[in-house]
């Protein structure tokens, strides 16, 4: 399977430094944290198209494994270093199947003892994602600052600011003189979340997001969107006449989730996410995604 090839072979250059990094951290005497997750979701506007004729939907399965090495100090300071291995399989748009690997480093400070002490965390991450269609392949960079506090056993609050950057090679294009690095993006986002435990096993999570930066919309050729695009390139994954346009836009999002603890180590969840993007030139599109999730923490 191409995705297995992606997973094992192509990011091999990224594996080696990650392993060396983990080995170096391990010598500093840390605690291992292992977790895994999976999700099934349906995206009703996969290409982020505005025009109804260009809107396509698909379902996908996602899986993720994460390993972290955490170094702790008595004063509430902790350093976490680790890696994530993820994969996505699409039902119809198999060219979007992808595998990714990411290494992360974060420093967390908790003020005080106990579950209700406020905390803050700064982190950076570097990753690589490779798709079956190849031209979406990109190197991922992100930096984030998070803060949160559990108010009591029922209520938990947090907020996160993140800068994200995605660097992809320019796509092959027949549009001379027009930048074609359409899959390179940068943006900044701010998220807030609140979780309410209605019982020992059931939790309700509400999150909202604002992101400003580059967005990609794949649609049929249009002079209207072309005029406001920073880069344009053919996107044959969505059909022979489809083009991907990189625009500057602001995305507003909300996610509602219901989680149920199956065991002390695992939970399942139902979620619904809605994203609305407003890009320059009146290019607006929406995206809804119901999902079923599963998490396991060792």
């Amino acid at each position: 399977m191409p995705i297995l090839h992606n997973l094992a072979m192509r990011p091999i250059r990224a594996w080696l430094p990650a392993l060396v990094f983990c080995a170096a951290i391990h010598t500093a005497r840390g605690d291992w944290i292992l977790s895994t997750s999976a999700a099934l979701n349906h995206d009703n506007n996969l290409g982020n198209a505005q025009n109804a004729a260009s809107v396509v939907a698909d379902s996908r399965a996602q899986a993720n494994g994460s390993v972290l090495q955490q170094i702790l100090w008595d004063d509430g300071l902790s350093l976490s270093a680790g890696g994530d291995l993820s994969g996505e399989l699409y039902d119809h748009f198999s060219a979007l199947n992808n595998a990714s690997i990411e290494g992360s480093l974060s420093l967390k400070k908790k003020w005080g003892l106990g579950a209700f002490a406020p905390w803050i965390r700064a982190g950076i991450a570097v990753g690589r994602v490779e798709y079956d269609d190849r031209y979406r392949d990109a190197t991922l960079y992100s930096a984030s600052l998070e803060a949160g506090q559990r108010l009591d056993e029922r209520w938990d609050l947090w907020a996160k600011y993140a800068f994200d950057s995605r660097r992809a090679a320019p796509a092959e294009s027949d549009l001379y003189g027009v930048p074609s690095d359409v899959f390179s993006q940068r943006g900044q986002s701010f998220k807030v979340g609140v979780q309410y435990s209605s019982s020992e096993r059931m939790r309700l999570t509400l999150g909202s997001l604002v992101r400003h930066g580059d967005v990609i919309s794949t649609t049929q050729p249009s002079a209207g969107i072309f005029a406001y695009s920073k880069a344009v390139a053919p996107d044959p994954t969505f059909g022979p006449d489809a083009y991907a346009y990189r625009l500057v836009g602001t995305t507003f999002g909300a996610r509602l989730g219901l989680e149920y603890s199956l065991t002390t180590h695992s939970l399942i969840g139902l979620g619904f996410q809605r994203l609305d993007t407003h890009a320059r030139g009146g290019i607006n599109y929406g995206d809804s995604m119901p999902e079923l999730t599963w998490n396991y923490q060792f």
């Binding site: 605690d31 291992w32 944290i33 997750s37 972290l68 955490q70 702790l72 100090w73 008595d74 509430g76 902790s78 976490s80 967390k108 908790k110 003892l113 106990g114 579950a115 002490a117 905390w119 965390r121 998070e146 949160g148 559990r150 056993e153 029922r154 938990d156 947090w158 996160k160 979340g193 979780q195 435990s197 019982s199 020992e200 939790r203 999570t205 999150g207 996610r255 989730g257 989680e259 603890s261 002390t264 180590h265 695992s266 939970l267 969840g269 999730t293 998490n295 396991y296 923490q297």
Partner: protein, 219 residues
């Protein structure tokens, strides 16, 4: 040497005689729905203080297994010393803010944490500063006569000198003050006295252990 042997023999006889006259209190605890209540502490306070005399409290232990306190509820006699071994292959930082005992054990692995003396009666809530979902309870009893209910909701306090006792129940999720469960029970007329309690439990809410994708507080 001979005198020592005689003293020991007399002591043994007196001890056996006392045991022969001691009784057992068998308690069943159910909740408002009639379900067996596990981890309820049953305490019997002797009306006659002479009946409460007991030897030096034994050493207790609260372990940490799979990032949980084991046992979840540990009743001890006031003045007892408790060790906190860590059977996990990661480190824990055990603490308590409870008025009955405030303490903190700095990050440690294995069995090298110093034992803690609990010299004041009351409930001590245990936590781990690294793993927020970890919670455990030490009930420091002012009486040497106590027991904890098992999965069947039953507990037995043995070796009770005959006499009158004030018996009460405590549970981490109890909806009312434990004093409201107080009863006077006479022990000694029969070898085994039995009593049943019904207590109101509120829903238990604990910090979740597994974080979903949207909740980033751990690690």
């Amino acid at each position: 040497m001979k005198l020592k042997k005689i003293t020991a023999a007399v002591g043994l006889i007196v001890g056996c005689a006392a045991l022969a006259h001691s009784a057992e209190l068998h308690v069943t605890v159910k909740d408002q729905k009639g379900k067996n209540v596990e981890d309820a502490v049953v305490l019997a306070v002797a009306a006659d203080p002479r009946n409460a005399q007991r030897s030096k409290p034994p050493l207790g232990a609260v372990d940490q297994v799979d990032k949980q306190f084991v046992p979840y509820v540990k009743p001890i006699f006031v003045g007892s010393t408790v060790r906190f071994p860590n059977s996990d292959n990661i480190r824990h930082q055990v603490y308590s803010f409870s008025p009955a005992k405030k303490f903190e054990l700095p990050l440690y692995a294995g069995t090298n944490a110093p034992p803690v003396i609990f010299d004041k009666p009351g409930v001590v809530v245990l936590g781990c500063n690294i793993h927020d979902w970890m919670v455990g309870y030490i009930y420091v009893a002012e009486t040497p006569f106590f027991a904890k209910t098992g999965p069947l909701g039953t507990a037995s306090i043995s070796d009770l000198p005959p006499g009158e006792y004030r018996v009460r129940i405590w549970h981490p999720n109890m909806d009312r003050a434990e004093e409201t469960t107080n009863r006077r029970i006479m022990v000694g007329a029969e070898p085994v006295a039995a009593a049943e309690w019904q207590i109101d439990l509120k829903a238990s809410i604990r910090v979740p252990r597994v974080s979903g994708a949207a909740s980033p507080s751990y690690p």
